[in-house]
């Protein structure tokens, strides 16, 4: 039983999820960590954490991620090492090549996995369906290797120093068909920084339409809170991306997070679950947001907003 973790890095820095994968992989078997980059050396040092038995570097491709390079490198790693389990983060980069590797090599596959276990030789992965209302155990009949994309911030990151042996694998990669050109930041709007707020009044799809934005801006100002939003509000063009909480927006940790009309998609929860006190107001008693909230109310958010107006 062996485990292969693929390092995720961006602009020269190893991302936290890689050390979380090490933690998740250790109970399954000896963990080897692969580093794929034009110059993997400096990155390899950063993944030499406790629990890593071996580091395998693949010097290939560009400095930044390109899906075709990662696909070819991972295929070569799997063919040479025959791991039982391959662990990647459930990230935008992994989404760009992992399923291609699984389809090509006939691997077992699942993503957004939040639990992994061994039952004898069988790998069992636990993940959610139906907007988090249902969990499922997945099995992978007949698969020699199982490729799993694990949900970030589910396992604690491995710490310390491993003293792992470092080896390298030579892989010839073809020129990528999709090529990194440049990174751009979302346009700065000269707006407030929601990561600095003590109190966030956060609104989601439940507000219904754009007309309600002004009302909640007013309420936030009265309460001394900052207005933030979930993704659908930004997608609809009602508020700028700088106000968005979640995986594709900002990760926030205010003292108080007031979620009004936010059902709690996984990507949203990842961006706010570390908040000090979370209060959720939603008409759906089964909404996922209640799973992370400290306080909740199943009541119309406009009725509560109206009552709050009177108190400030």
């Amino acid at each position: 039983m062996s485990v292969l973790v693929v390092t995720e890095h961006l602009q020269g820095t190893v991302r936290d999820v890689t050390r979380e994968l090490v933690t998740a992989g250790r109970p399954l078997g000896p963990v080897a960590v692969a580093v794929i980059a034009r110059d993997p050396g400096p990155l390899a040092a950063a993944v030499d954490v406790e629990g890593v038995e071996e580091i395998v570097t693949v010097a290939a491709g560009a400095d930044e991620f390109e899906g075709d390079t990662y696909q070819q490198a991972l295929e070569a790693l799997i063919e040479s090492r025959r791991p039982r389990v391959v662990l990647l983060g459930f990230t935008v980069n992994a989404m760009s090549y992992a399923a291609a590797v699984a389809a090509k090599l006939g691997l077992g596959y699942a993503s957004d996995v939040h639990g992994v276990a061994l039952e004898g030789e069988a790998v069992i992965a636990t993940r959610s369906f139906y907007a988090g209302k249902v969990s499922a155990e997945l099995e992978f009949p007949g698969a020699e290797t199982v490729l799993l994309l694990l949900r970030p911030t589910t396992w604690p990151p491995a710490e310390g120093t491993g003293g792992a042996a470092v080896s390298s694998l030579a892989v010839e990669v073809a020129p990528p068909r999709a090529r990194h050109v440049e990174f751009t930041e979302p346009a700065a709007t000269g707006d407030v920084d929601i990561t600095q707020a003590d109190v966030l009044l956060s609104i989601g799809r439940g507000i219904g339409d754009a007309d309600a934005i002004a009302q909640f801006e007013g309420l936030a100002a009265k309460m001394g809170a900052t207005l933030s939003v979930s993704r659908p509000i930004v997608d609809a063009g009602w508020m700028p991306a700088s106000r968005q909480v979640g995986q594709s927006g900002k990760t926030v940790k205010p003292k108080v997070y007031l979620a009004f009309g936010i059902s709690g998609a996984v990507q949203h929860l990842a961006g706010m679950k570390a908040s000090g006190t979370i209060v959720a107001v939603n008409t759906d008693p089964e909404a996922s947001i209640f799973g992370v909230a400290h306080y909740g109310a199943v009541v119309d958010l406009f009725d509560v907003a109206e009552e709050l107006e009177k108190l400030y």
Partner: protein, 248 residues
């Protein structure tokens, strides 16, 4: 320009859930059906490209007859043709990709668009697996698309909102993120017309499964939230107190 858009009719659960007798899925009596949100953005993107560059838009789905409602929604938005593939196991995105690949090979499209993920499964895998099976380049989580001569510029949205600008050879498979456009509403006349369109039905060839659901269950609730009651005035007072207490 021929664009194939791969869509899914997704299931949403209400307050109650029951499982099928084998325990591997939810009882269909307890679900509502809808066009996957990401796929409405993918369809809109294909329609806007057709308006600029000409050509046709073909929508494809895997599912039982009832999933034709999702195809008809796309037809009402302006798609030209629709294909439904029968006999594909649910919840295995790689199996779905194998079935879609048969149609994509036959259609020989200039572009294939999928949603990033489906709201009921959230695997974010189908488009990337499909690209491999039809031997096309791919870009996942696209928030902007500018096709050029033989290649396109695409914006990939990374975590934290950072954008990775990539250049991709065409034809390609792209998975489309919400917010890339504003999906149009279909008018009543278009909805009526879409009801009359004949949908091509195909049978999937058997494909290896990359996973199988062993059992589904309602996850155990943790401590859960302390509920503040249902009186809006009382809820508001408690919220105001909490804000005051926790920021003191």
């Amino acid at each position: 320009m021929r664009t194939v858009v791969c869509i899914k009719q997704v299931r949403t659960l209400g307050d109650e859930v029951e499982f099928t007798d084998d325990g591997r899925d939810v009882d269909p009596d307890y679900v509502d059906l809808a066009l996957n949100e990401w796929d409405s953005f993918a369809t809109e993107e294909a329609l806007q490209l057709k308006e600029r560059l000409g050509g046709e838009v073909v929508v494809v789905t895997c599912g039982p007859e009832e999933s034709e409602a999702a195809l008809r929604r796309c037809l009402a938005m302006g798609a030209d043709r629709a294909v439904r593939i029968e006999g594909v196991a649910a919840h295995d995105p790689i199996g779905v990709a194998h079935a879609l690949a048969e149609v994509v090979r036959d259609e020989e499209p200039d572009l294939v668009l999928c949603g990033v993920q489906s709201s009921d499964s959230v695997q974010a895998a189908t488009g990337t697996a499909l690209a491999e099976l039809v031997e096309l380049p791919r870009v996942a989580v696209v928030t902007r698309l500018e096709p050029g001569d033989g290649k396109a510029t695409a914006h990939r949205e990374l975590e934290g909102g950072l954008v990775d600008v990539v250049e991709v050879d065409l034809p390609a498979v792209l998975t489309i993120q919400t917010g890339i456009n504003q999906p149009r509403y279909a008018n009543l006349r278009a909805i009526k017309q879409a009801e009359q369109v004949e949908i091509t039905v195909r049978q999937a060839a058997s494909a290896p499964a990359a996973s199988r659901v062993r059992r589904m269950f309602v996850p155990p609730r943790g401590e859960g939230a302390e509920m503040l009651g249902t009186d809006p005035g009382e809820v508001a007072r408690r919220i105001a107190d909490l804000v005051k207490e926790r920021t003191a």
